[in-house]
């Protein structure tokens, strides 16, 4: 069985909402995970994330993540 290892960057207003998280978190799983599931594993409500990027491109929260990738969680602009 292949182990999934994903780095997740948590930044901006999300760090205010979830102060227990570091700027860079690591998620390891023995089963495949979607972006939404990874966010959930970090204790983040996926609705508080504006969008998620991988290598600079926006990806769907239901996207199945490959191992050894880095996801960036982008905060809502928090006041437009």
């Amino acid at each position: 069985m292949m182990t999934l290892k994903v780095d997740v960057i948590v930044q901006g207003y999300l760090r205010e909402l979830y102060p227990h998280l570091r700027e860079k978190e690591e998620v390891i799983s023995e089963t495949p995970l979607t972006v939404r599931q990874i966010i959930s594993q970090l204790g983040i409500k996926s609705e508080t994330v504006l969008f998620v990027t991988q290598e600079g491109r926006i990806i769907d929260k239901d996207y199945l993540v490959e191992s050894n990738t880095e996801l960036v969680l982008v905060s809502p602009p928090a006041g437009g």
Binding site: Q11, L14, R15, E47, G56, A78, G80
Partner: protein, 621 residues
């Protein structure tokens, strides 16, 4: 010497022409830092109770912060304040661009305007040479047109603020325009400039600002840019700017639609950040010192006309797009452009126009009073009303005061859906299932404005419901985030942190969006000013300013107190009509419970008035 500051406050009586450049008091800088702090203290000390907001005794204070104009990210902010013609209380508005740095390079931390000129005039500040130039040829000119004329006349190295016809006609939500698309939009500061017959202020500054440790500050500033550029979100957030939030706000059921009857718009994908990029965008546009240019400069083609326009930003999309139901981004952008030329705040303007549309729909006002029939979704009707408002003609003369006085004039129960707090129209977040955000709007010192505290994300983070699942299931009305528990502390905390950026003279978006750490501001503040202050100590100053602006409202608004802190009855009595929050509203009892807790934690009595003990504890008088 005050390091980090220009060192002077320039006071101009635009009626008599008297000009005085006073030293910036060190104790003012020590106790109130700058920007919003300077505005609040100077207004509180200088304006007598009973002053007419549109009379010559009112002041317009334009203030920079200690970090404005220095070599660091987002240091282009300028703060404006006045006794607001919209609320009769404390009014301020913050603007990006380049004006504040130019004012500082000219030698001034603050510009204070009083009196009233006899004829329409422009103030020209060329370092220490100051002129008040009568120029009635600018009368009636659009705010963007006036800036272009003055740039051609004075030179590109002048930074200029202008008002449009709405400001000249003293519309309560007239805005100040700068750099062809930046605005100090809220609380009607431009109406006060109009009452003083000031069409524009142009500044050229070629001096320098004393810095405590110039080499260290330069190195730190450069390092701060590198930190910003290295943030993982840097490349992904900037391309869409604030409009990127549109579909997200809709998905969580907070997008104002049809004058806030609903919080969900089916057409959101046609007016979101992607639509701005696909259909309008020519180039990004940034403010002074900005590493993350969120301004989007574009071109809109509509049946009514075409226009180059900066924006629309999210707030303009929410009020002109959502609340007025303009379903195409080009139409939203064109309405945005019309507001910019007329010099109208897009937030209040969108809410006022959508209020009129609902009044017409409900038969409260008729075609004879309006001059035609009007309906949600019509760009032609939106532009018609905007032009009437700016000219104060016909129905526009009533709407020009904002929804609060307009609903009093119209009657027919329209105060139920006049969407404001304290007389300031509500910005772009519908809150009937977001109690923290609702409390933010209720208790904001200037009225219903979002940038003092933006607690919507906190409300959602506290929810047990999964919004996306509810939308998929079509399960409107089932989402429940509305427990008020724990919201008050978060709102109070944000009401200190957000305005602190306006006090220091910097943009908050680098921190809020890409996680730029506040410790950098502590370090650069010390290198620039020679004064060591932790972020927590700065927040304590921001907290004191919050108490002072409340006292300003107590001083200037007859009968001010708890009754001024409620939202419109729609939010307490009418269920949301569609979307994930369908059926939701927040009962007055819940809001009262939050207000009680909020007042107690603020040290205010049950009527929302700071107690003598609180006033003493903060060293205010």
């Amino acid at each position: 010497m005050l390091h980090g500051y220009a060192g002077k406050i320039l006071k101009i009586n635009v009626g008599s022409g008297k000009q005085v450049a006073e030293n910036t008091p060190p104790e003012l800088a020590e106790q109130y830092l700058g920007g919003r702090g300077f505005v609040a203290r100077l207004l509180y000390d200088s304006i007598e109770p009973g002053t007419d907001p549109l009379g010559p005794a009112n002041l317009v204070v334009i203030a920079t912060g200690p970090l404005s104009g220095h070599l660091l990210p987002g240091s282009g902010k300028t703060h404006f304040g006045t006794l607001s013609p919209a609320t009769g209380g404390y009014g301020d508005s913050n603007m990006g661009g380049h004006f504040g740095p130019a004012l500082k390079y000219a030698g001034y931390d603050c510009l204070v305007l009083e009196g009233a000129a006899e004829k329409l005039s422009t103030i020209v500040i060329d370092n220490d040479k100051i002129e008040i130039v009568e120029d009635e040829t600018l009368q009636g000119k659009g705010a963007l047109v006036a800036e272009k004329i003055l740039k051609e006349r004075l030179g590109e190295d002048f930074q200029i603020i202008t008002i449009g016809p709405a400001g000249e006609n003293k519309v309560a939500f007239a805005c100040i325009s700068h750099d062809f698309g930046r605005q100090a939009g809220r609380t009607g500061v431009a109406a006060v400039l109009g009452s003083k017959n000031i069409k524009a202020v142009a500044v050229r500054g070629t001096g320098s600002i004393p810095v405590y440790n110039a080499k260290g500050a330069q190195q730190k500033g450069e390092a701060m840019y590198k930190v910003c550029f290295a943030k993982p979100g840097f490349k992904t957030w900037t391309p869409y700017g604030t409009a990127s939030i549109t579909s997200w706000v809709n998905e969580v059921g907070a997008f104002p639609t049809r004058n806030f009857q609903s919080s969900f718009a089916e057409f959101h994908n046609k007016i979101n950040g992607q639509a701005v990029v696909d259909k309008l965008l020519i180039t990004d546009k940034g403010c002074f010192g900005c590493p993350t240019p969120c301004g989007k400069y574009g071109y809109a083609k509509t049946a009514l006309g075409n226009a180059y326009v900066e924006g629309p930003e999210y707030e303009s999309i929410a009020t002109l797009g959502g609340s007025c139901c303009l379903e195409e981004i080009e139409e939203v952008a064109y309405a945005n452009y019309v507001c910019d030329q007329l010099g109208l705040d897009t937030i209040s303007a969108g809410v006022v126009v959508s209020f009129a549309m609902e009044c017409f729909e409900k038969g409260v006002i008729n075609t004879a009073e309006i001059g035609r029939s009007i309906s949600f979704g019509s760009l032609d009707d939106v532009v018609y009303l905007l032009e009437k408002i700016a000219a104060c003609e016909g129905i526009g003369a009533v709407l020009a005061g904002g929804v609060k006085p307009a609903s009093a004039a119209f009657g027919g129960g329209s105060e139920q859906y006049a969407i404001h707090v304290k007389g300031l129209e509500w910005s772009g977040y519908e809150c009937r299932n977001a109690p923290g955000m609702m409390l933010s709007y209720m208790t904001a010192d200037v009225g219903a404005h979002h940038n003092r505290s933006w607690a919507l994300g906190y409300d959602i983070s506290q929810s047990d419901a999964d919004v996306s699942e509810l939308i998929k299931a079509g399960a409107g009305g089932k989402m429940d985030v509305s427990s008020p528990e724990g919201k008050v502390d978060h709102v109070i905390s944000m009401q200190h942190s957000r305005p602190l950026y306006d006090t220091l003279g910097i943009c908050r978006l680098q921190t809020m969006e890409i996680g730029f750490e506040t410790v950098h501001y502590e370090e650069v503040f010390e290198l620039i000013t020679g004064r060591k202050l932790s972020w927590a100590e700065m927040l304590a100053i921001s907290e004191k300013i919050w108490q002072l602006t409340r006292l300003f409202n107590v001083k200037h608004i007859d009968g001010f107190g708890r009754s001024w802190d409620y939202p419109p009855r729609r939010f307490m009595e009418e269920p949301v009509t569609s979307g994930p929050n369908e059926g939701r509203y927040i009962k007055k009892e819940i809001l009262d419970k939050m207000l009680d807790e909020y007042y107690e934690k603020r040290g205010w009595d049950s009527n929302g008035i700071p107690t003598p003990e609180t006033i003493k504890a903060y060293g205010l008088k």
